[in-house]
């Protein structure tokens, strides 16, 4: 019986090919966008975590001034380079239990668009920061070493890529030994030979040009006296497990006992406070941003599915009214109401299975194309297919189809045979 009903359903689908395709379009788009975005998100996450796993230290956090309320990884993008951290503070923080070392960071104000150049061509977005030669212990290098003299600099991965591209090379190591110029303003400029390249980093160090701290001259007023003050600190803890408690202890110190708290008072109109941002937080923030974007697309996919459901219900109602006579014939030769309903449900289920299978292929292909084109990031990220989505998508397609086909099937099952046959 079911095979005969299935045969009738299939022949109905085949008889109205265009209509069937349009009916399944909602499922294809819905399932496709959901599966595609889930795959894309998984691919990004996997690629991101694997490619950056050696580019940052998990037991590190940055200290800066920023909007406290924002918190989390997003704070990293809200750190304002205010010169507030004195050498005294740096020493005091270094003594906090659990902290193994502290690196001063002083963002250097540069002038104009041509702040950093190589062979007279500008390296856009480059940001110059003064620090010590201990930087290698805080920021992993992929090429070369930390600077050993004031005439050398360590550059971020993107800066190195720009220098290398000028040499028609993709290899950042070819930037080593090359000279970049920094315009410090007021007719002061300096040339630096690249001694090292920072590893490709997801946490905002790719555009850095790190030079000796002696080029950093920012000061702030502390009780009427001008003192040297850094714009930020990088802190290493003894272990990852200590990260949270040490971050809290650092903020407590800065708020309650530091010289920086007096200096920051002068900037009170900015309503900012001391913040710490661990590398793990930044990574988590980036991953969750991708997931949020995926969630948005999945929500759009769900809307497509919902619209698809309405489309299926509508088309099935049309199909029921078109096939009234057929229903009448089947009822006359012994089909039960339930069997009539089953016939229409088989029809929508077939469309659901086909729709979700095509949707799966569409989703995976979409994810693959986005990854190949590098629309949302570096191209060449491998596609990660989470196979658990294959049965989920098929079941989702069937469930959505069945749900939308229920009312038309019920309506068909209630058709009186005499009324249906009168349709002659």
């Amino acid at each position: 019986m079911v095979s005969e009903l299935g045969r009738l359903s299939i022949s109905s689908i085949r008889r109205h090919k265009l209509r069937s395709v349009l009916t399944t379009l909602g499922i294809i788009l819905g399932v496709g966008s959901i599966v595609g975005m889930v795959s894309l998100s998984a691919s990004f996450e996997n690629s991101f975590l694997s490619s950056y796993s050696n580019s940052f230290l998990p037991n590190e956090f940055a200290v800066g001034v920023g909007m406290e309320s924002l918190g989390g990884g997003s704070a990293q993008y809200n750190i304002v380079p205010l010169p507030v951290f004195t050498q005294h503070d740096l020493n005091a923080i270094g003594k906090i239990s659990g902290i193994s070392s502290v690196l001063p960071m002083g963002q250097i104000t540069t002038t104009g668009q041509n702040a950093v150049t190589v062979n007279n061509s500008t390296i856009f977005a480059a940001s110059v920061t003064g620090t010590t030669s201990a930087l290698g212990g805080f920021l992993p290098l992929c090429n070369g070493t930390a600077f050993s003299s004031t005439g050398q600099a360590v550059v971020g991965y993107s800066v190195a890529r720009t220098v290398a591209s000028g040499l028609h090379s993709n290899d950042t190591s070819s930037a080593l030994g090359k000279v970049i110029s920094v315009n410090f303003g007021r007719n002061v400029s300096g040339s630096f030979q690249i001694s090292g390249v920072l590893a490709d980093s997801p946490i905002g160090y790719n555009d850095l040009v790190l030079v000796n701290l002696s080029y950093y001259h920012e000061t702030s007023l502390l009780n009427g006296t001008e003192v040297a003050a850094y714009t930020g600190l990088l802190v290493l803890t003894g272990s990852v497990s200590q990260l949270n408690s040490v971050e809290q202890a650092t903020v407590s110190y800065l708020k309650e006992s530091s010289q920086a708290r007096y200096i920051l008072n002068d900037y009170s109109n900015l309503k900012m406070g001391f913040i710490t941002v661990s590398n793990a937080q930044v990574v988590q923030f980036i991953v969750s941003s991708v997931q949020q974007f995926s969630g948005f697309i999945i929500a759009l996919g769900s809307v497509a599915l919902l619209v698809g459901m309405i489309g299926i219900a509508n088309i099935m109602l049309v199909s029921v009214s078109e096939r009234m006579r057929e229903v009448g014939i089947l009822r006359a030769i012994g089909a039960k109401r339930s069997e009539i309903a089953i016939m229409f449900l088989i029809e929508v289920s077939i469309m659901g299975v086909i729709g979700s299978a095509v949707g799966l292929l569409f989703g995976f292909s979409l994810a693959l194309i986005i990854l190949k084109l590098g629309i949302f990031g570096s191209s060449g990220t491998p596609l990660i297919i989470d196979w658990v989505w294959v049965p989920i998508a098929i079941l989702l397609g069937i469930a959505v189809s069945l749900l939308s086909g229920m009312y038309p099937a019920y309506k068909a099952s209630r058709i009186l045979p005499t009324e249906a046959l009168r349709n002659e």
Binding site: M1, S3, S11, S12, A332, R337, L416, L421
Partner: protein, 248 residues
């Protein structure tokens, strides 16, 4: 208990075997059918009582609008009466749920319609096999063979793989007769079976129905054509929803 004699000289009691030894297949008792709509109501059948005996060949005649099709549909359990009782063998049809009624209809009743009512997009063979798939009477392995036998009987062998669309009206009606016989029904109802056919094809179709009757099949043919009614051996005449006699 003495059976009550009704129109057509048939019996209506709980006794299933008449005094002449003929088994009663179906009995209608005071069946009324009223169609109601916003514009008012229309009484299509006004208390029809009759019995159908096994092996009978009945004609159901009457002018257009007299209630022939309505009565045929009610007898064939395609429609339910507004009031009155229908008994099929020992079963009260009114008490049956839809699922049982559908099975009873599929197993025990065959229909032949004026417009053939075959599933157009299926092959001839599939159409004949279709009623068997809703029934447990014919074993799945025997269905194809039985369908082929039936097609041979109606002279359609060799055209079993054709689509219904490719057949002439006369051929379609012969396939419809084969389909009606699929589940070895006790009763065959034919509603104007020759209404869409020319004289030659009408003759073929009625010849087939007579053959079926001669083999023991019970047939009721609704028609307004007196020539067709003459194929029957027993006659039921309807006028304005009431049985009015046993003349053609």
């Amino acid at each position: 208990m003495k059976p009550k004699i009704l129109q057509d000289g048939l019996l209506r009691t709980d006794i299933r075997i008449t005094e002449t030894g003929e088994e009663t297949v179906e009995t209608l008792d005071e069946v009324r059918k009223v169609y109601s709509s916003k514009g008012g109501s229309y009484e299509a059948l006004r208390g029809v009582s009759l019995s159908i005996r096994r092996g009978g060949f009945y004609s159901l005649t009457g002018p257009s609008g007299s209630g022939k099709s309505t009565l045929l549909h009610i007898m064939g359990m395609l429609d339910s009466p507004t009031s009155g009782k229908i008994q099929y063998l020992s079963r009260q049809v009114g008490d049956l749920p839809d699922s049982s009624l559908s099975r009873l209809r599929g197993d025990e009743i065959g229909f032949v319609f004026q417009a053939y009512n075959l599933v157009q997009r299926m092959s001839v063979l599939r159409n004949v096999m279709l009623p068997m798939s809703f029934s447990t009477k014919i074993h799945a392995a025997e269905r194809r063979e039985r369908a082929m036998d039936l097609l041979e009987r109606v002279g359609m062998l060799g055209k079993e793989n054709k689509l219904v669309l490719q057949l002439s009206g006369g051929e379609q009606q012969r396939v419809a007769i084969a389909r009606a016989l699929a589940n070895r029904p006790s009763l065959i109802f034919a509603d104007e079976p020759t209404g869409n056919l020319d004289t030659e094809n009408s003759g073929h179709v009625m010849g087939l129905l007579r053959e079926i009757n001669e083999d023991g099949g019970t047939i009721v043919v609704a028609t307004h054509d007196q020539d067709i009614a003459r194929f029957a051996t027993k006659h039921l005449k309807l006028r304005d929803g009431s049985l009015v006699g046993d003349e053609i």
